[in-house]
Subunit: 275 residues, 2 copies
């Protein structure tokens, strides 16, 4: 998916929402267990009920991997379903992969060839050759961990680099942008660290940011937008548990839609105000 296509979708849907498919089999409605693949059925119903309000879906791979082969099948079915039925959706593998060059190349194959994701999250610790193999795929996105939403972000990401006059997370961003372009590189910036978005926008005024941490983790959508929105929106804000587990009964998909609609309407208002 191209940068220009993404911005068109945002304006068309008046939404910059990504729905996180962290579809934990232990949390999905009980009645789905009668299906051959309960997790795929859950995802399918969530997607059908919300696709007109969201521009992206983001399965977190851990929730699939923890079920082994069965989980991998649920994941592959979900990816195919989305690509077959809703081709204009940005499909993000939240995988946080990264390894030496010849190995990262295999991860890129896994998510961009074997499965047809548009984007993948990547961990930066191993540096350039761990990220570049993902950038070699045309019209695909690498989403590098910048400043994450969790408490552990304070352990290393805020370490101060005097020589660079920057936090480590800033160095990661300013270095990584040299390897790609705004057309194929985004950054993860947690909504719980929204006050840092101004610093980040000085480094990367034009890049898209994937922002988790609104909802259960406590980040504020207003603050994210005030500090992080740019002329193309430049934000993809994710909500996972707050949407997909909004309800737990027969009507779980409608419950998810209501929660999604609430967020989309907030977003529409913010787009009108700031864009």
């Amino acid at each position: 998916m191209k940068f220009s296509e993404l911005t068109v979708e945002i304006v068309k849907k008046q939404s910059f929402l990504c729905i996180g498919l962290d579809s934990d089999i232990n949390k999905i409605p009980e009645f789905l267990m009668k299906f051959d693949d309960p997790v795929f059925e859950f995802n399918k119903q969530i997607i059908d009920a919300t696709h007109d309000l969201a521009i992206a879906y983001k399965p977190n791979i851990a929730f699939y991997e923890s079920r082994g082969v069965a989980g991998w099948k649920s994941l592959e079915s979900t990816v195919s379903y989305l690509n077959d039925n809703y081709p204009d959706i940005l499909l993000i593998a939240d995988a946080k992969r990264g390894d030496i060059g010849n190995t990262s190349k295999e991860y890129a194959k896994a998510f961009f060839s074997q499965m047809d994701f548009d984007a993948i999250t990547v961990a930066p610790y191993m540096g350039r050759d761990s990220v570049e193999p993902f950038l070699e795929f045309k019209d695909r996105w690498v989403i590098v961990l910048g400043l994450t939403s969790n408490l552990g972000a304070f352990d290393f990401q805020f370490n101060w680099l005097a020589e660079d006059n920057a936090y480590l997370y800033e160095k990661v961003i300013s270095e990584t942008i040299k390897w790609g372009t705004k057309e194929n590189t985004m950054f993860v910036v947690g909504a719980t660290k929204a006050e840092h978005l101004k610093r980040i926008r000085k480094l990367i005024p034009d890049h898209f940011l994937l922002v988790p941490g609104v909802g259960v983790q406590g980040g504020s959508l207003d603050e994210v937008v005030r500090n992080g929105m740019n002329k193309n929106c430049g934000l993809i804000v994710n909500s996972s548990r707050g949407i997909i587990f909004a309800g737990n009964g027969q009507n779980f998909a409608e419950d998810a839609r209501l929660k999604t609609l609430e967020l989309q309407q907030q977003m529409s208002g913010l787009l009108k105000k700031y864009l």
Copy 2:
């Protein structure tokens, strides 16, 4: 697998060798394609031919994930085969995972419950809550990326932290050891950075190190041992491509054994000299 069991195996086998099962389906001998699961057959023959000379095996998960469900099946079969037939082997998932707490917990389930690995490699960028879920499993190991063997290691791992008077990789090590013990935490240190092993041993005299980068990547076993061996050996040195792709014909497993024997004999000599 416990620390004490690992050290017993090292002495018994006179080896601290880990064999990396980076079993790329495009590189395994052609004649294996007639088997239902060529990659599992390849791994099985390599394992049968080398298990008395190695203390650990380390499938790199990327080479399995890139084949989707089929790859995941090869991986599960390999793990079961090793656990059923060679229970004294340390089985490492080279996965370099790491995510926010509730998600890392899913990865821990994937590799420690759903599959029965003894250890997993973990990326440190997201900090404490991304690592701790792996530490909650008894007699399992977390192997944190410290100083990696690739060129990209120079991008961030050598950033200087003036406040800590340390490189980032040193800070990662000195911080991470607080979260676990030498009984459940190891570090990845590339053989290509062997001159830094002395600095690392000052921080962690007693922890085990997983050392990739001997062989194709150019690291020296002698130098690794001189700078990194401790009173319990404290080293697990990995070789992947140099062993498993030593031959490419009907006798590939015997070729792999010869290469393994060569390394084990070197290791035996070094253990006698330095331990």
